[in-house]
Structure formats: C-alpha cells, structure tokens
Point group: C2
C-alpha cells in the first residue's frame, strides 16, 4: 500500500476576495499551483455600486457574488471563510483563529476602510460606506428620516430630519448626494401627506475648492453644475469640526456654522485595513500616511519576493506623480499581474515590472448625468451616463451574469421608482416587542394625523 | 377670514399593511372617506415567497413594496409607520406611543406569528419564518452551516452541520425542504473542496400522517414522492419533544430519537398577533384556540358594527366546515369586502354577508415541481409549477411590477444558480473587530486546509 504524499505544488494563499485578490485567484485557475482564497465574508462585493444599495435602488445580492460560485470551476482553488488575524513570515503561515495556513506565495488584498482622521467617535453619528451592512444602515437612516419627519409636528425638528449632509466631495460623496436628491425630489414626491419633500436639503461638504478633486477642473465644474440643478447644495472649502446626533459643525475660513441634521453620511477618507500594520511588523514593510503598504515595482513587499500586496492596500508609486488610485481597474490589473509574476517565478524566468494601463475615470451624478475622463477625451451628460452603466454591467456580468441589474435599472429609469426602500433591522424588531394592550390613556390628548 | 374646518369625512383607520389591510386601503382609494393605514414597517411583504429569501433565491426588496408607493395615488390615504399598542373603543381611538388616532371605522389586520406551542424557548434554536429579518436569519444559518462544515475536521460534527431539520409539513415546511434540497444537491454541488455536499441530510418532520394535511390525500402523496426524489427524508407521525442547539428530539409512537443537527427551522404553527387579545379585552371579542378573533358574517367584531378583522387574524366560520385558511387570497377578498361594506354603511344600505370564492391551493416543491388543487381539478408537475409562478407574479405585479423577479427566476432556472447567498449580519461584523497582529503562535500545530 502506498500512501498519497501531500501535494508538493506551490501553495498560493490570497487574503481578501475584493477585486485585487479575486483576480489573482481567477488568473491562476489553470496554473500548476494550489490556491487558497481567504475572506471573512462568503461573497465578493462590487463596491462601486454600494451607494445604490444605500439609497434604495439595488439589493445587496445584486452587487454581490458568492466567492465559491465565482471560483467553483477552478479545481485548484479552495475558498475559506475565515478571519486572518496574523502572519508568521518565518514559518510562512497565515494565522486564523482556528488554524495556521502555510504559503509559498502570499497575496494580501484586504483593502481599506473609512477613516475619521482621529475622530472615530463620529462614526456613530456619521456612518461610512464600505460594507453591505454599512449600506443597509445608511438606507435605514435615510428612509427613517423621512418617516420621522412625516410624524414630527415641530417645524425646526422636521427641518433637521429633512436635512441630509454628505461629508466628502469625492466620487462616493457625489454619487450619494445625487442619489438622495433624486430620491427626495423625484421618487418620493407623491408619497407623503404631512411634509413637503421638496423642502429636503441635501448638503455636500468638501474641504478642497471643488468636488471630485482628482478629476480635471472642467469635469469638476460640470459635476457641480449638474448636482446643483438636481437640488444639491455644495459647500466647498468647508471643514467639518464636529459631528454628533444633532448635526455637523463646519468651518469656512473664520466662520463657524452649526447645521442641524438628523442624517450625516461620511464619504471623506480611507485608511488601510489592519493587515497593513501586520505587514509592517512581520515583514518590515513601510506604510504611507494612510497606512497603505509601499510596494516594489513588481508589487512585492521589499525584502519578500513571495509576499505581494494588491488593490487599495498597496501604495504603488512607480508610475506617475501620485500613487495609483484605489479603484477597481487598478486592483484588477494588479491582481492579474501578480498571477503572471507567480507563474513566471515558478517557471524560473523574469517579467517586466507592473504598469497600470489607464482606463479612465467615471462618476455618476444622477439619472442621465455622469462624467467620464478617458484621458484623451473628457465629457459629461447622458452619453457619459450610458458609458458608466455599461462599464459597470460589464464588470458585474463577468462574475455572475447579473443581467437582472440591467433590468432593474431599466425599470427604475422609466418609473423613477426604487424598489429597495425597506427599513430593516437584524436586531431589535422581533426580539424586543413593545407591550401591547396596557396603554389606554385616561388623559392623553388626542392628536389627529 | 374663514377658518378651514377639520375634515368631517368618515375616518377609516387600518392597522396592518399585509394583504388584508392593504386591500381595504386600495379598494377605498376613490371612496369619500379619509383613510389612515398604520404599519410598524414601511413596506408590504409578499409572505408567500419569504422562503425564497430564506434559501438565497430572491432578495428582500424583490418581495416587498413600499406601502407609501403602493398607495401614493390614493390622495385620501395617509400611511403612518408606527406601532399600535392599544385601542380605546369608548373614544374610538387607536393608541400609539406618540399619539391617539380617532376612527369612525377600524380594521384590524395584524395577522399571525409563529408559535411554539408553549415552548417559546425553542425559538432561538429553531427560528420561524414570518418577517424579512426571520428570512435573513434562516439564510445566514443555512449558508453558515455549509461554511462551518467545510472547516470541520470531526466527522460527527460535520454530519450535524450538514443536517437540516424542518419542523412542520405544511406548505412552508414543504417549500423550505424542497429549496434546501435543491440548494445542497444542485446549486452548491461544485462549490466545496473538503466536504461532499451530497451527504447533506434534509429532514422534514410532520406530526400527522402526511405532508400538506389540508390538501387532498393524492396531492400529499405526490408531494411526498417529489420531495423524496429530490433527496428530502420525510418523517410523518413524528412529534418534536425537544429542540436545542445540538438538534431535535423526536417521538414516533413509543420510540424517542435524538437527531444531531446544527440547523433546525420552524414551520409548525401560528398564533394570533397581540391585537387579538386587545380586541378581546377592549371589545369583548371571542378568540379561538390560536388567539384569532371570531368574526360575524360581515367580518365585524360581534357588538361592534364599525370594527372589522380581516386576514389571518380573523376566524371566519360562516362558510364550510373549517374556518377559512390563513392565505393571501382569503385576506385579499376579505379586505375588498370590508371596503364595500364601509361604502354601503355610509350610503345607508345593506350588503350580503361575506363569502369566500375559492381560488385553489398551490404549493411548490422545487424546480418544475408543484401541486395545484383548484377544487374541480387537482394536478402536479411542471404545469403546476408554471401556474404557481404566474399566480405569484400576478400578485407581485399588481403592486410594483416586479418583472425583475421573473427575470431572476428565469436566470436561476437555467443556471441553477442562486445569487442571494450572502451571509450578512447587521450587528457585530463591523463593531466587534477581532484583534489583528498579536497572534503569531509559538507552538500552534499547523493544519493544512
């Protein structure tokens, strides 16, 4: 009897199933390696559309694909739903709460999370948008605000309930502000009886002098004009100095203003996930100010030819003046490059350093309104919007053939409706019932609704 | 200056936005009355498809419609998102935590919830299926069980993780069992590397001698045969005597068996919502054993010509041998009838008592498999399945034109995929981070995955 020896194939461990990690795994599907993809969630999230979940257009499942089903045909690949809590670079192992997983090559692609510039206490009052749960919490707050306003007799409180403040004028902030304006001024316009939803205020706050600062100035100007036509108030050169449940305090030059608002949404900054620090401690990696890992020209961690960082967690400074931005096309190209690099290393030959091929920048402002910057050409309006739609559908389809999303958008487009306007909570609703049947009042004033 | 007098129109207050309450409101859209529809949620839920959310086929928003948008064109109708905590039948007011709402006519349509026959402590180990949150909790448990099994080295524990017990062989139990069998044996068949999902056990427990006890015996037999072909084990004449996190204890005659199972789902019984008791105390209503309100032939509460109960909360015993079943067509017809009754009362003429027009019973077993009982004809198989699909789409479309659901089903049908397989939690995931970077072990045994 012969005993089967353990596989002696090269072991690739990928931490994180976002665009970066997933494209490493996909591109290694036919390579002579054993791949383990570890993620704490069981799905890949199409983050660019998360704001559409937050504003009631799409459902979570419409922008998520189970990692196992994306990779089910890659017979050399295992998916493990697990938290990674440390690395052992001596023994070449990834540490999880229950086991250590040995690697020959490691890819860290754990991305970034939102960041409050040292004011983490603002998180409760001003949630950010990185996970499905974040999006559902935003959705709950947005739709609950209209419901609360409908019941509120005090005009000042009602005004605060109908005030939505978005902190940060980057793509996420612009998209959120546009979507909330459309929601209030179009979708909900006939739905309430006590409030006038046209009184809704949508404020977009930006610290710099224009929205979409990384884009060309004329696109920023067009974006601002479009947003203002939709009813968004843009405050630039506006710094947020305080956030709490009553609203935000902002500073413009020397003037400090308090803006009463029930709903404050955070789209202002990102910070590396904790794996950045782990790489600094365990592999001596250098981190930038946001905690991202400075990588070599081949995306490896300096001194560790078998540890790569891809996606938002990587600070790649070998091309152009600024580091590559944290967007899906960068992560995708980095993932594909690292897969090639691994195959080359195994075959024993060298490949050229990574270069990012610019595919352009896109931001959507609202229905029929978007801006596109393809480098050689910049434009905005309905054509830009169609390009935006098809660029996103193209990516969605690659994983999961989500034609249904296209149908949903088509439906929403013609009806101006949004089907996913549910106020849901996983906790509380059923477990803390309100006592019923012991409340007939003796002297309660009856209020007519 | 003249002051506008308060509206002197007849005030109709409806508590509950399920099928019963919603159809009262819809049918009163052009009547000379002021309607207030109160629900604690902001959406109508299409409960017959809740099991498809629980098993990862559909998203919550695909079976829910915002009450405000369904009723936005009824200018005489207000929607109020609020908990009703009591009634004052003397002053004719509905009591909520913040206000009292006066009515001339009241409709109570708060439905039923699941019921553990006095063993409420089983709820944690064996959740039921009445709300969106219930469905997401079931979905989380079902998909987490497969993920846990994939990581479990102990064969006995792994077996319990791959054992799914559904308690109750009515339509919900049958639909859940069929969907879980399809999931395990078809959808997930290529997705795992350490476990063989063909080893999954799906057990359907029923206390009586056949599944679908209210249906004709030959349809029960066909349903059982279809389920067994799909890999479901049916245990009839089986009483559950204990449920905890290790599984269920069942009694068959004199034999008691413990079935180790990580996932136990409850589909065994319903009980009236607390408004039943409130009506008993405040309006002297008689309740049946399940807490439902015994109504007059015109669906009013005896002694109160202006208080009606419709839908699952009503026990209507004036037609046939048994009370009308708690299904959508009954609630819908009752709602429409009460709207007519109110208009007749206002106009000062009488109408005939309520009669339910039988539309048939439907239950789906799995893809291409359903049973239909239209009274004059009974059949099963693919044609029954198509009738089931179109009956449900017909209802969905009436509210919200959810053509997208049809597309989703079409897609799932041809790919055998299920897009909504997310394991999500609203609590915990982000707020309780696992400490990262302090875990490199000295003597941990490395386990290869």
């Amino acid at each position: 009897m012969t005993k089967q020896p353990p596989s002696s194939r090269h072991r690739v461990v990928i931490v994180g199933g976002g665009f970066g990690g997933l494209y490493v795994a996909k591109s290694l599907g036919k390579a002579p390696v054993d791949v383990t993809l570890i993620d704490k969630r069981n799905f890949h999230l199409f983050q660019p559309l998360l704001y559409q979940v937050a504003t009631g257009t799409l459902s979570p499942a419409q922008i998520s694909s189970p990692l196992r089903s994306i990779l089910s045909r890659n017979r050399n690949t295992k998916v493990l739903m697990e938290h990674v809590i440390d690395l052992d670079t001596q023994r070449q192992q990834v540490v999880t709460p229950n086991q250590c997983i040995p690697y020959d090559t490691l890819i860290v692609a754990t991305g970034v999370r939102h960041h409050y510039f040292g004011k983490e206490e603002w998180q409760t009052a001003a949630p950010g948008l990185k996970t499905i749960e974040d999006a559902l919490e935003m959705r709950r707050r947005i739709f609950s605000a209209f419901e609360a306003a409908e019941k509120e007799p005090d005009p000042a409180k009602r005004r605060a309930m109908l005030t939505f403040v978005i902190v940060g004028g980057g793509p996420t902030g612009v998209e959120l502000a546009g979507a909330i304006a459309e929601l209030a001024f179009k979708t909900l316009k006939d739905d309430f009886r006590n409030i006038d939803v046209q009184q809704t205020q949508v404020l977009l706050l930006e610290g710099l002098d224009r929205v979409l600062p990384p884009y060309a100035t004329d696109l920023s100007a067009k974006t601002a004009a479009s947003l203002e036509r939709m009813g968004v108030n843009i405050l630039t050169q506006t710094r947020v100095t305080h956030v709490d449940e009553d609203g935000v305090t902002v500073q413009q030059g020397d003037i400090t203003t308090q803006i009463p608002a029930r709903t404050v949404l955070w789209a202002a900054g990102v910070q590396a996930s904790p794996m950045g620090k782990v790489l600094a401690e365990r592999a001596g990696a250098t981190l930038d100010r946001a905690g991202r890992v400075m990588v070599d020209a081949d995306l490896s961690v300096p001194g560790y030819a078998n540890i790569f960082v891809v996606g938002d967690l990587a600070h790649f400074a070998h091309q152009g003046d600024a580091p590559l931005p944290g967007v899906a096309p960068v992560a995708t190209q980095e993932g594909k490059y690292v897969a090639q690099k691994i195959c080359a290393q195994i075959a024993g030959h060298a490949i050229a350093p990574f270069t990012y091929k610019e595919v352009g920048s896109l931001a959507v402002i609202g229905q029929n309104a978007a801006v596109v910057d393809l480098g050689f050409i910049k434009f905005s309006g309905p054509l830009a919007w169609f390009i935006w739609i098809f660029a996103h559908i193209y990516y969605l389809i690659e994983f999961d053939n989500k034609m249904v999303v296209l149908m949903q958008w088509g439906w929403n487009y013609f009806t101006r409706q949004r089907g996913a306007r549910l106020i849901t909570e996983a906790e509380g609703m059923n477990t803390k019932p309100i006592e019923v049947g012991r409340h007939v009042p003796d002297d309660r004033i009856s209020v007519k609704v």
